[in-house]
C-alpha cells in the first residue's frame, strides 16, 4: 500500500469535486441531483463495506444510521436562517460532523450488544435496530413524526458529496490497509484464530461499526440537505437492503467494486427511465418506442440483479484479486 498515492487520490478527488461544483450551474439540475445521489450512495456503500465486507459482520441497519445523521444535521441547520456563503458552508460542515458523531454513537450502541452475536443473529439485531430508529423518529413530534421534517437549506453540492465520498474511500481504504486494519480482515477470515493470535476481536468489531456508522451519518446529512425533506419511512429496511446489494454486487471487501456498484445501481433506474422517454428511434415510426421500459423498469432492474448475481457471484467488478482479499 502506497500512502503517497492514497493521499494524491484524496486531494485529487476533492479538487475535482471542487472544480465540478464551480460548473454546477451549467449542469442540468436533474443530473446534478443524481450525482449527489451517487456520491451519497458511494459513502453509504463504502462505509457499509467496512462492516460487511472487510470485518465480515452482517449489518442490515445501515439506513438507520443514515437516519440518525440526517435528522441530527437537519435539526442543527434548521436553527439558522439565510447565511453568507462561508457561514453556510461552515455551519454545514459542523452539522454534517455532528450528524456523523450522533450516528457513530448509535453505532457504538449496536456494536456493544452485537459482540456476542455472529452472522444471521447479528443481521437480525441490526435489522431490529434500524427499525427502532425509524419508529422512534416516527413518534418524535419535535422532528415532525411520521409527517416528516422539512430541511430549510439545500446546501449539499458537488464539492461536499464527492469530497466526502473521497474522504470515506480514503479512510476506509487506509484503515484496512494499515497494520492496525489487518485486524478487521483477520476477524472476518477466522474469528477464533484471530483471537488466538491476540487480536481484540471485540474492539475491532465495535470500531468497524462506529466508523461505518459515522460515515453513514454524514451521508444522511448530505441526503437531508439535498432532498430538503425527510421522513422516517425513507430510511426503512428496504433502503438498508439497497446498500447491502451495492456491497454484494461490488464484491464484499472490494472498495473499487463497491464504488462502481454504487454508481451503477444509482444510475441504472434513471438510465432506464431515460430510455423509455426517447421520443423516436431511427427506423421506427411509433412514438416513444421504448415506452414499455417505463412500466417494467423495476422488473428489468430486479432481473439484472438476479442475472448479475448468477453470473458474477464474486462481485461484478472483482476483475483482479486485490491484495486485500484472501
Amino acid at each position: 500500500m502506497n500512502f503517497r498515492h492514497a493521499k494524491t487520490f484524496l486531494l485529487g478527488a476533492i479538487a475535482l469535486g471542487f472544480l465540478a461544483s464551480l460548473f454546477a450551474d451549467r449542469i442540468n439540475p436533474y443530473w446534478l441531483f443524481i450525482f449527489y445521489d451517487i456520491g451519497i450512495s458511494i459513502v453509504m456503500a463504502v462505509s457499509l463495506n467496512l462492516i460487511n465486507g472487510y470485518t465480515g459482520q452482517f449489518s442490515l441497519g445501515h439506513a438507520g444510521f443514515m437516519a440518525v445523521g440526517a435528522y441530527s444535521s437537519a435539526v442543527i441547520t434548521n436553527q439558522f436562517g439565510d447565511l453568507s456563503f462561508l457561514a453556510a458552508n461552515g455551519i454545514f460542515a459542523v452539522a454534517l460532523l455532528a450528524g456523523g458523531l450522533a450516528a457513530a454513537l448509535a453505532g457504538l450502541l449496536v456494536g456493544i450488544p452485537s459482540l456476542r452475536l455472529r452472522g444471521d443473529y447479528l443481521a437480525i439485531v441490526t435489522l431490529g435496530f434500524g427499525e427502532i430508529i425509524r419508529v422512534i423518529l416516527q413518534n418524535m413530534d419535535k422532528v415532525g413524526g411520521a409527517r416528516g421534517l422539512s430541511v430549510m437549506h439545500g446546501w449539499t453540492n458537488l464539492f461536499w458529496t464527492f469530497g466526502l465520498a473521497a474522504v470515506t474511500v480514503y479512510v476506509v481504504a487506509s484503515l484496512v490497509n494499515s497494520t492496525y486494519g489487518r485486524g478487521f480482515i483477520a476477524v472476518r477470515d477466522d474469528e477464533v484464530a484471530a483471537e488466538a493470535m491476540g487480536i481484540n476481536t471485540t474492539k475491532y468489531k465495535v470500531t468497524a461499526f462506529v466508523v461505518g456508522a459515522f460515515f453513514a451519518g454524514i451521508a444522511g446529512g448530505l441526503y437531508a440537505h439535498s432532498k430538503q425533506f425527510i421522513t422516517p419511512g425513507g430510511f426503512g429496511f428496504m433502503q438498508s437492503i439497497a446498500f447491502v446489494v451495492m456491497v454484494i454486487l461490488g464484491g464484499m471487501g472490494n472498495t473499487i467494486g463497491v464504488i462502481l456498484a454504487a454508481i451503477l445501481l444509482t444510475l441504472l433506474p434513471e438510465g432506464l427511465r431515460m430510455l423509455s422517454g426517447i421520443e423516436h428511434l431511427p427506423g421506427l415510426t411509433a412514438e416513444r418506442p421504448l415506452g414499455w421500459i417505463g412500466d417494467t423498469r423495476m422488473i428489468i432492474y430486479s432481473l439484472l440483479l438476479i442475472v448479475l448475481m448468477l453470473t458474477r457471484p464474486q462481485g461484478l467488478f472483482s476483475l483482479k484479486k486485490s491484495s486485500v482479499q484472501k
Binding site: F9, N28, Y30, F229, I230, R273
Partner: protein, 385 residues
Amino acid sequence: MNILRPSIICTVAFTIAGLLTGCNKPSSVPGAGDDTIKVGEFASLTGSEATFGQSSHNGTQLAVDEINAAGGVLGKKIQLLTEDDQSQAGQSATVVRKLISSDGVVAILGEVASSRSLEAAPICQQNKIPMISPSSTNPRVTEVGDFIFRVCFIDPFQGTVMANFARKTLKLQNVAVLTDVKSDYSVGLAKFFKEGFTTTGGKIAAEQNYSGGDKDFNAQLTSIKAANPDGIFVPGYYTEVGLIALQAKQLGLTIPIFGGDGWESPSLVQIGGAALEGDYFSTHFSPQASTPAVQNFVKKYEAKFKDAPDAMAALGYDSALILADAIKKTGSTDGTKIRDALAAEKDFPGASGNITIDANRNASKPAVILEIKNGAFQYVQTVAP
C-alpha cells in the same frame, strides 16, 4: 491494493456523466414544444400506495384525453409526461427535477401522499413552476410557497362540515368527541369540529382520547355514556373506528357516530359490521352524487377503465382540468401567469364539486357526506363550505 485505480475510474465516470448532462439540456423555451404543451405528473404507480397513485393517474389521463379530444388548449395538445416515484421517499424530488429540467414541463400535477408532495413542492417553487396536488390534505403542502396549489379540501375543513351537518341535519345538541391524540389529522379535525359545533349553539358533552393502535375503548365509551350525549364524533382511522362502533353498541350506546374521510375503506365495514349502520362520515367524492359533473365523469371513467372511480380518480381528473382552464384563461404557458390564473379560479365545475381557490391556494369546495347502510356507503348530501 492499487489506490490509483479509483481515481482513474472516477475521472472516467465524471466524463461520462458530463457527456450525459450535455445531451440533456432542455430544448428551447420550457414547455413550448411545437405542437404540444408538456405537463408533468408524478404518481405512486408502484410500491405501497400504488392503488392511490394509479387511480389518481387514471383520472388525470382521462382529463387530458378529454381536453385533447376537444382540441386541446391554445390550439395545442397537452402532452402528459408521467413519472413513477415508487411510493418511495427521495424519488419524488428526483422525478420532479427530471420533469422540470430535462423535459421542460409547464406545470406539475401530483401527489396523493402529503409527504411526497412536500418533497416536490420546494423544487417547483424554486423553479417557478405551478404545482397542483390532487389529494394531499396536509395543510403544510401549500404553505411551501405561492406556486403550490391543491384541488382537495384540507383536514380542518371537514371538522367544520361535520359540525354543520350534526347541528343542521342530524339536529344534535350534545355531542361527545373521541380523538386519536397520536394523529395530527384527528386532533385538527376534532379542534375544528368543536369550534364549529359550539358556535352554532351545540354543546360538547364529553371529550375523550385514545391512541391509534388501541384495541379497547370501553373506559372512554363508558364515561361518554355517563355524559349522556346524542351523538359521538370520532375523527379517526377506520381500524379503530370499526372497533369503537362495535364496543359502543355492546355498551348499549345507540346514538349515531360520525367522522371524517379516515373512515373511507372497505375494511371499516369488515371490522365494525352491523354496529356501523346509520353512522356518517364526510369525504371528497361519491360516484352516487346526482350532479351532472359527477355523473358525466363517472360515465366516462367507467367506459374507459371498466371500474367505478374513487375520490383519488376524481381529484386527479380535477387537477388536470383546472390546470387546462388556467392555461386557457391566461393564454400563456408562462409559470407565473398560470399561477396567477390558478389563484383566481372561482367555482370551477369539477367532478369533485365546484372548486374555488382561496387565498392560501387551498380548494374551498363542498364535502360529501356518506351514510353506512346495509354494509355499503350511501350518498346522503353535499355540504357547501
